[in-house]
Symmetry: D2
């Protein structure tokens, strides 16, 4: 299995608070905890040629992880279309935190993907609401993040195919923090936590969820269905 | 309630078979069976200025009905964005037949919306699979159309929020023919039948379904939720 | 439309705190705010003959509201089967608060319907997560109940057909507080608030939700589908 | 992984047509194609003590497969309750064909589970409508069974969590032939084909679907959530 971790990689270079937490970038930390003998992990970032998402990289990627925030608009529409095409062909997509506002997520959802937010370093508690789901394996009934950005409802997404985590925030809001969607042959998981000024991707529960999600989102060995004009399978009388 | 019936209105002007069935256009027939004392029905077509979907028309439309086929590409991206915005604000949208490939439907779905098709004038039988749904009121267990274009699975749409009709086709295919979605504050219904060379919109069952759908899709009296930066509702400790 | 409000009606007769709040029973307060010129409202209670749910009452009830808590086991299995049959035939069912553990709700769900709970008179905030839903009409983005019993996840219910409200609790939990299901021809709404020691059913938002839910759950004019042995609709070749 | 294949095992002993096809019982054929180095497969039948579903067998079963038809009523309510409890604890359950009317399926669904049927040995074509689903791996766009019993809509089940296969029948009906549900910690798959007078369980596509379903339904390593009275996780002000 080939995983590509894509990161905007801007905050880490400009904001010393973020540099301290993620000196080599969020993508390196995520790649680090995903690496094992069964999977191949690459990284790609916005400022590389074609954002690091060349034809070759995309074609061979089984699961793509996406973190972006301040530079969503700098992602080229052409690359977004290629990523979308790969999702429809079966590539798994895991969208993290502020990636809710990325072009790729918005174009796959069809809604504004807007939400309420607040940077107050408050407590978040994520509750498991689907104990059958493989993405929750190894996670207790809930887990806590002492300091996170708040994302609150209403979250303007389509009705999720599956609702896995619900967040409670100290400041009074709730949020659908782990949701899945199917698009074409591809599976998508959106996972809320991961503000750049907090060490969220070092949290063992967050890591476990993303590890599980990668397995869940990996493509089947299946062709895309055949679309277009089709011969009759049975005799028809016509008009 | 204000309904706007939008039609591409091209086949009716060029193909004598279609002209014979719909001399004034598909939109006029649909508008005709929707008119009653409770609703205001307008029509709009592709070749009008702004495709007949001016700011004023869109702002006052409660439910928009969409029929298009050969000229999807001629619909301006700007108008599509305005229609999408109105759906997110609560306007109901009913997409008919070949409208599955319209820009507005594809952008709201996030998938290719592709399918199998065949023009053989074969029999279609639509089965009700959700007898709780108001869109099925007055419809029996199934109804038949003697001659229709075939649309077959796989239909590349997101998992529907509700599945209402399933079609059986004489030539051996099945299709999810009546499906609903929520996007933002708006409700969407896709309804399969309505090939231009068959008198489908004169069928009483088809008319009843569309009449029901208009009622179901009509907007609530509700503002869009407030998005963006939000003050805390409870005291938080912060970092 | 005929509405029947069913109440166990025990706490009100034994616990002075509850008697003070609901001197004539929870059912009378609910019946009171549902009455208007369009609807007929009756009440029924556990200690009446057949729990007040005679054949005649059930047959003519369009929407049944259910509140029970300490005496679920005293509801006869025979009556539960009759209520279930009526739901499958199309009668709407609105289950309130501790009704999550009623025989009728558990038999329609197929799960334990268990949850976490705490009686600490804490604050509950209910967030609207489906702004398209008629049950939310007239409700803001959220509403608060200053003092309520806590119900927390995991709530052991089937995946809801629609998720409408999510609760935030002061003590750190979240809950799927407004959910809908379809069973047979019938529509079901479960709504969390309503602990007997708090004046919850006097709250205007709670009243509005229940008023909306009654409209939403009212039956279609539709027969049950025909089940059993069926003649072929097309010629088959057989073996 | 431990799989138990449960079969009523009556038709095979009484009807020579069925005996010819399944001389050792349907369960032995299913067990046969499920056996491999990774899984342990047992069988159990109605006429064994406790229907072969002793405490010990149930506790160690990861996925239970169920085939029943003429003797649903002979299955003891006590065993049904134990099986249900195990599903809620996480055991996978695969219900085949006429098992739609088994006590265990009906109690987990909460509906009548009724349908239309016809024994005419007609052609069935199963279409894949969810190409993302692991249960479809290795299956083409559709597969055919030359001779099967017809099951037709309306199928009186709750809205499926996932809809995987849709059947087309020669006689004019359609059916939701592959559907999934979550109940408690357990995953359920209902799969339509398998009438006893046809050699359906020798079909390679049918076998592949059931092999895939067993993998999909296998339990997570997860405890049941804790239910009941819960201490506050945060300081509350109370009344």
């Amino acid at each position: 299995m080939n995983i590509t971790v894509w990161n905007e990689y801007r905050h880490e270079k400009k904001n010393p608070v973020v540099t301290d937490i993620y000196p080599d970038g969020i993508h390196q930390v995520i790649a680090g905890f995903l690496k094992n003998s069964d999977v191949n992990v690459k990284t790609a970032t916005l400022d590389e040629a074609e954002h690091g998402l060349t034809e070759d990289v995309l074609t061979t990627t089984d699961v793509l992880i996406w973190w972006g925030h301040v530079a969503h608009d700098e992602v080229s529409d052409e690359i977004v279309q290629k990523v979308k095409q790969r999702v429809l062909e079966g590539m798994g997509l895991i969208v993290l935190h502020s990636g809710h506002f990325s072009k790729i997520f918005k174009t796959l959802m069809g809604t504004s993907c807007d939400l309420k937010w607040r940077e107050a370093g408050e407590k978040e508690r994520l509750w498991v609401v689907d104990p059958t789901h493989p993405i929750t394996e190894g996670i207790g009934e809930y887990f806590e993040l002492d300091h996170e950005e708040m994302y609150g409802e209403h979250f303007d997404i389509p009705v999720p195919d599956e609702l896995i985590f619900l967040s409670w925030f100290e400041g009074g809001e709730v949020f659908r923090s782990g949701v899945t969607y199917k698009r074409g042959n591809g599976k998508i998981f959106y996972f809320r936590p991961g503000h750049e000024t907090h060490p969220t991707y070092y949290n063992k529960n967050v890591q476990k969820v993303i590890q599980n999600a990668v397995k869940w989102a990996s493509p089947l060995k299946r062709e895309r269905p055949v679309y277009g004009n089709a011969q009759s399978l049975e005799t028809t009388k016509g008009e």
